[in-house]
Assembly symmetry: C3
Homo-oligomer: 364 residues x 3
């Protein structure tokens, strides 16, 4: 517990933890102040996500390479998963889908692009492990195909369409999880030497003792779930007050909030000329959401949701995920980056953000 307090004292980001009790109090006292609750829940989720991320890494560090890699790979996006599960339980399937597509796009474009830009401002030309980036891009490509196909073969006949999409989504979810499991077997076991420089690139932080790490993992996950409930309830109405379209909220706002902790790590890695770390976090996180979080949500929607979720996304979202994947493949192909590569990637993101911001409310 001492270590935890020391950690909090040295990391200004964690001072935001003060907002956790504040948001619970506010939700009790002013349940209709949506904008206030939205802002407070965002401020509370960000430090919780950072704690969660550090706790996962600490457990991973203690359990050895294979299990640790597995843990990192499954719990790395625990915040996104918990937020999405809360939204799913509240029946907000549209928000869940938007936040999945948004998280893929935000990690691939915003996190990767900003890493390239920040790193490139300090270092003239940076290099990174192409093999690792190519595998992540390949996984993203596979997930994109899985999201694209249900829309591409959609039939006009709506009676058969629903059942078809449902069973296809179940099958695709199983395939994606199998592909994800095999990718771990590949990168952690059979060909781990190819991924050498990108893996286990610790951030210079000492791991916590296992007891503290496990306790934090459990306790903070619970806190994230509770704050997420307030976040999910308030986000749509707050967005209206801010004049944002629902698509913009799901795609951009939720994705940025859910990924804030990882972004901090990725950006700091880029500044330290450890671009392998940044590319690994950005693309690894995107492919994890696409091949693990999304299909797990589809499968869990049969258990916890009021209605099952499928993998048929709004065509605009599919196009954006597709463009994001192509962009990632294109820029990681050479294994080198400069600040302008970051600009190009960010510009694609800004095009999406602007489009979603301007989109008329009923369009999605």
């Amino acid at each position: 517990m001492n270590i935890l307090l020391k950690e909090v004292r040295h990391k200004p980001l964690l001072w935001l933890l003060a907002f956790v009790p504040v948001v619970f109090a506010a939700a009790k006292l002013k349940p209709e102040a949506h904008t206030l609750l939205f802002v407070l829940s965002v401020l509370a989720i960000v430090p919780l996500a950072a704690l969660l991320s550090h706790a996962t890494e600490s457990v991973a560090a203690k359990t050895g390479d294979a299990v640790g890699g597995l843990l990192n790979a499954t719990l790395g996006n625990l915040t996104e998963l918990v937020i999405a599960l809360t939204a799913l339980a509240a029946g907000q399937t549209m928000l869940v889908k938007a936040s999945i597509a948004g998280a893929i796009v935000t990690n691939t474009l915003f996190m990767l692009g900003t890493s390239f830009l920040l790193g490139g401002q300090k270092h003239h030309v940076q290099e990174f492990n192409r093999v690792s980036a190519r595998m992540q891009a390949g996984l993203l490509f596979l997930a994109t195909v899985a999201l694209l196909i249900p829309s591409a073969v959609a039939t006009a006949d709506s009676s058969t369409q629903a059942a078809f999409t449902q069973s296809l989504s179940l099958g695709l979810s199983v395939l994606l999880i199998v592909a994800y499991a095999l990718s771990m077997l590949y990168s952690l076991k059979t060909h781990r030497e190819l991924f050498a420089s990108a893996e286990h690139a610790d951030e210079g932080e000492a791991p916590w003792p296992i007891g503290l790490a496990l306790g934090t993992l459990a306790g903070v996950t619970l806190l994230v779930a509770l704050v997420s409930e307030i976040f999910v309830e308030s986000v749509q109405k707050a967005a209206e007050d801010f004049g944002m379209s629902p698509a913009f909220v799901g795609f951009i706002v939720v994705a940025l909030v859910g990924g804030a902790a990882e972004m901090a790590s990725a950006f700091s890695g880029a500044r330290k000329n450890r671009l392998d770390l940044s590319v690994g976090i950005a693309l690894g996180s995107a492919s994890q959401i696409a091949l693990f979080v999304a299909p797990v949500l589809v499968l869990l929607s049969y258990v916890i949701g009021p209605a099952p979720m499928d993998l048929q996304f709004w065509p605009g979202a599919v196009v954006m995920v597709l463009i994001a994947t192509v962009t990632a493949t294109f820029v990681t192909n050479s294994g080198r980056s400069t600040w302008f590569v970051g600009v190009l990637v960010l510009m694609v993101y800004f095009i999406f953000a602007m489009t979603l911001y301007l989109l008329p409310p009923r369009a999605v």
Copy 2:
């Protein structure tokens, strides 16, 4: 003839030739037993295709490099061509189109992916000739553009649309055949040194004497044509009995049957760490179907078919061919492969197969 018998004795695959007389007898005696006829005709076509393939290679080996390459390049997919011509003569344009798109997708994804997987299980990292793979991928890309454009510029006005699609398909077919001819000039004559390791990589089999080879070529082509008639007649009804959609039959079943002989060669090459051979067969076969077989069928449809065939495909098929081409370009770009690359490619194929299997019958 002695050689032929010896060949049959040493290759278990050729024992299936016993099904050739069986299928003819069954077609006479039980013309309504569609499922039986389907299974028997598949069992008969596979060894015939293997014989045809070996006869073509033997003639090619005897006629010298340039003519031989030309022969291989035009007769290499004779089985697919004969099956498609039989279907065309029977007026089954939809089945022909599905089998063309299916053969491109199956060769690009299933044959290439399985080669990578089988080779990668035995050899840690495999290398292959990038230049050759890039040219094949480029040809496939060109063919994909030709298939994509008629759908992309389709007009709402159906009266002018039909005439437009017809004349466009004729023009595109001529362009594709010209491109294919120039690709042979390029790889067999002006820049043959770039393709060195991939070309004429014999499989350790002795070529047949020219007389036997030519006789086999003629006789077996006739047999394939006769069995194809039974196959084409029975396949749709048999598929219904098996609960398969027509799209699945055309795309997956016909393509697997037509390409079985080449797959055997490609997989055996991959196990022997001769991945150049496997990639050459898989992508070469796909681009040959796209740039030679398909346009020849369009041109011949004016002569033999009850109605002319065009190049406007079902949009879902165009998307699948496009994704297959992008996948091939992506994975052959580095010139190296491991088992996981094979898994990625096969997963894309499984996504397509699953989608087509679940597709409601009236969707295509």
Copy 3:
């Protein structure tokens, strides 16, 4: 003035300048002879564009690297800009859009493909600066995303759609111009050493004195504007006489006329084995039109046009621009080229040209 005359005497292309007075006389005497006026105005624009191009380069050479690069980058497509502005002032928004998309496609496919083909016929294998080609391809990709998104997220509700497309187009135009400005900062200043061999590759021509160059720039721009007026007025009706669809005219004819001068430079560079120059002109010109000319036209349409122009293109045009960008990315990826690469690229162009030629008039 002496230098100018000497220049004219030594360059047969400039003899076409004789058509400038002819076209003005013809426009006065026979204003209804559309086909004649069309042919004459084409013959007059081509040498004017060549003069304009040389004048821009001369001013650029005198003003030092940074300003010169800037000038080349902004005035390099002055002919296209003046023609488009004339069409915009005449309210022909459709023609402007078709000519923008057509110029991107023509430069990327026809100019690049012919350069590869002509260079490859003389030189076995040619190499060029990949870094420069990759940046141009990246810029083109960004512009393609900007053209793709308005169509991809188009809503069925037409009342909100128009306002949405309008404001989105304005925002995208600003983003594209910013990206273009940053690309100049990158290639001319921060990372200019990466572009070494492609930049300032003069064609062995002596630059003009600054006075002559500036005078020519001003005078010839005015002449191009005047001839463009005749061209824009006559082109549609002349096309009908020739049996061409309006889409073919905008996409192919206007683009070829506007880019004739640059094509002469690119082709001559390829023959001299200076493929860096050819690739730089072809892709640089395409990305300049996409990221500078097009957005400037959108912004200026609020000032000079009868109606504002947006960035929502005909879907077929978007698909063609997308395919052209992918083709450019694919073939420039290896940094090497042969004649067959040129054939592949040209074939894609011929597919587009044939499709547009055959397209029924009302389709676009």
